[in-house]
């Protein structure tokens, strides 16, 4: 009777997580008549959809890696940089807030800051004579979107990686020093390998985070930007592809990509984390 206690949880997961997803996956392999087919999968390669996937992957990889590196640098600085403790706790609190400050309001904030009439845009133009829009910057572009995503990606990295950096023992560094290691050797042989699994895991999380984000992109650019979540959003709203099953295939593509990212992570982690329990 022991398993009775977890029945509600598994029932919930099956009914509201697993089955809806499987339903989509199954739908992706059928045509409108309900027959098995690979047409929808093949149709994903049409230029517009392929481009959407490519742009989405680019944005997600860029913001995941930049966010992870910047977050790691900031977390290292606040923990090991000998900064006053109030600055450390202020940064951590702010990171907690900013990592959850995504979606529509974040888009508003960036429009008010770096939009065509944004405060910083105008300030740069009128006071410093730098017209960033004339120089090719556009908030409603790939780079603008990436810049906006980093606002929650970097803090998310800080929040997740801080405990891992805290877990590094001071004595490891001292032991390495007495054994004759330089700081760089110590980093290369101990610190980086120890942090690697957490770092990698967070990069994958940041990737999935950016890849599935709809609200920020939609509020920033409307339906115009050609990225997968926005394409899918439009498809669900009004069947813009005129083929519901192609919509399912679009969703399947998203699951496959985040799934592959996670498998890659698990595989790399297995290789690098044999020393963990």
């Amino acid at each position: 009777m022991h398993w009775l206690g977890v029945v509600p949880f598994f029932a919930f997961a099956l009914l509201f997580l697993v089955m809806p997803t499987i339903g989509l996956v199954a739908g992706a392999f059928r045509n409108s008549a309900g027959e098995l087919t690979l047409e929808n999968i093949v149709a994903l390669s049409q230029p517009k959809l392929a481009a959407a996937y490519w742009v989405s992957i680019k944005i997600s990889i860029t913001t995941a890696i930049l966010g992870a590196l910047a977050g790691l640098a900031i977390a290292t600085a606040i923990i090991r940089g000998g900064l006053p403790s109030w600055l450390r706790s202020a940064t951590l609190t702010f990171s907690g807030v900013a990592s959850n400050f995504a979606g529509v309001p974040l888009a508003f904030a960036f429009i008010a800051t770096l939009g065509r009439l944004g405060v910083v845009t105008i300030l740069l133009r009128d006071v410093f004579g730098i017209n960033i829009y004339a120089m090719g910057f556009n908030l409603l572009s790939l780079w603008g979107l990436s810049l906006t995503y980093l606002y929650f990606q970097i803090p998310l990295m800080i929040v997740i990686i801080t405990p891992a950096i805290d877990g590094l023992k001071k004595e490891w560094g001292e032991a390495a020093a007495t054994l004759g290691a330089t700081t760089w050797q110590y980093w290369r042989m101990v610190i980086i390998p120890v942090l690697w699994p957490s770092f990698l895991g967070t990069v994958v999380l940041l990737f999935a985070n950016a890849f599935g984000a709809v609200a920020t992109a939609y509020a920033l650019t409307g339906p115009s930007l050609n990225i997968v979540p926005i394409q899918l959003f439009a498809q669900i709203r009004g069947d813009v592809l005129y083929n519901p099953n192609l919509g399912y295939a679009l969703a399947l593509g998203m699951i496959v990509i985040t799934g592959v990212a996670n498998l890659l992570y698990i595989w790399l982690q297995r290789r690098s984390e044999r020393w963990l329990k």
Binding site: H2, G5, V6, P8, F9, F10, F12, A13, F16, L17, P20, T21, G23, L24, G27, A70, I74, T93, F94, G96, V97, N100, F101, G103, V104, P105, L106, A107, F108, A109, F110, I111, A112, T113, L114, G118, V119, V120, L150, Y151, P155, A208, F211, G212, V214, A215, Y218, A219, G222, P229, L232, F233, I236, R237, Y248, A251, M254, I255, T258, G259
Partner: protein
């Protein structure tokens, strides 16, 4: 320094922008417009109610499960952890798409046939979105109290399962549960994708609609949303000070 500027400038800029509604001088006109908008009040109230139901559902799902896994079925832990992490792998838009396909008016579970049913489905969707955070918070909380000893002590005193969970376990992990609850609140309150695709009158779609149609009010709303998020995170941080560091036996 550059890092600090990147994070602080948008906040200052947004606030400054939100004060510019009246020509020539700073004013809180944008906020006045927002607060007096009946849709603002209605959608925010709706989202708060949905958030509360989401938290209740999340607690009911997660606390007994996490407890049971720790106490009796530790070998199931990897499976449960994997499931709780699924919402981080499957994007919300895909989950809601799956719901629309599966629970339509013609299906055997026609949640979407009525408005009330759709509300319930939205709560369910949000509960699955918050699963990773809720489970992690509760499981961490359970780790610091020695679940097994507490349970055995209660059993010796003749307590039944409902009593044990509601009177012994829940109070001991209350702080962890509350942390998870406020995080859930922060995530749910402005959520756009699910609410919009299920066509519910929630705060997130309202925000988006304002953004598409007004100039200064969106900034005011962004400031308000940031304040709400900040409030939730501050509560979590204050709560964490009261959390038991480790009770009697932090052995595992």
């Amino acid at each position: 320094m550059a890092g600090a500027a990147y994070f602080i400038l948008p906040l200052i800029a947004t606030f400054e922008f939100s004060l510019r509604k009246r020509r020539g001088s700073y004013s809180f006109d944008a906020y006045r417009t927002v607060f007096s908008d009946p849709n603002f009040q209605a959608t925010l109230t709706y989202s708060i109610i949905v958030a509360i139901f989401t938290i209740l559902l999340g607690v009911l799902l997660v606390v007994p499960t996490a407890y049971w896994i720790r106490l009796r079925l530790p070998w199931l832990r990897p499976v449960v952890e994997f499931i709780t992490l699924l919402p981080l792998v499957i994007p919300a838009i895909v989950i809601v798409f799956g719901y629309i396909r599966m629970f339509g008016s013609n299906s055997s579970l026609p949640f979407l046939a009525t408005a009330r049913g759709t509300d319930v489905l939205l709560v369910i969707g949000y509960a699955s979105l918050s699963l990773p955070y809720m489970y992690r918070a509760v499981d961490t909380g359970l780790r610091t109290v020695d679940v097994r000893t507490l349970t055995e002590a209660a059993q010796i005193l003749g307590a039944g399962w409902v009593t044990i969970i509601s009177r012994i376990i829940l109070p001991n992990v209350l702080i962890a549960v509350l942390s998870g609850a406020f995080l859930t609140f922060a995530i749910v309150i402005g959520e756009f994708t699910m609410a919009s695709l299920l066509n519910r009158p929630a705060f997130g779609p309202y925000l988006q609609n304002i953004g598409a149609n007004f100039a200064y009010e969106p900034s005011a709303l962004a400031v308000i949303a940031f304040a709400i998020t900040w409030g939730c995170m501050s509560v979590i941080q204050i709560l964490s000070r009261f959390a038991p560091k480790s009770a009697n036996n932090p052995a595992n």
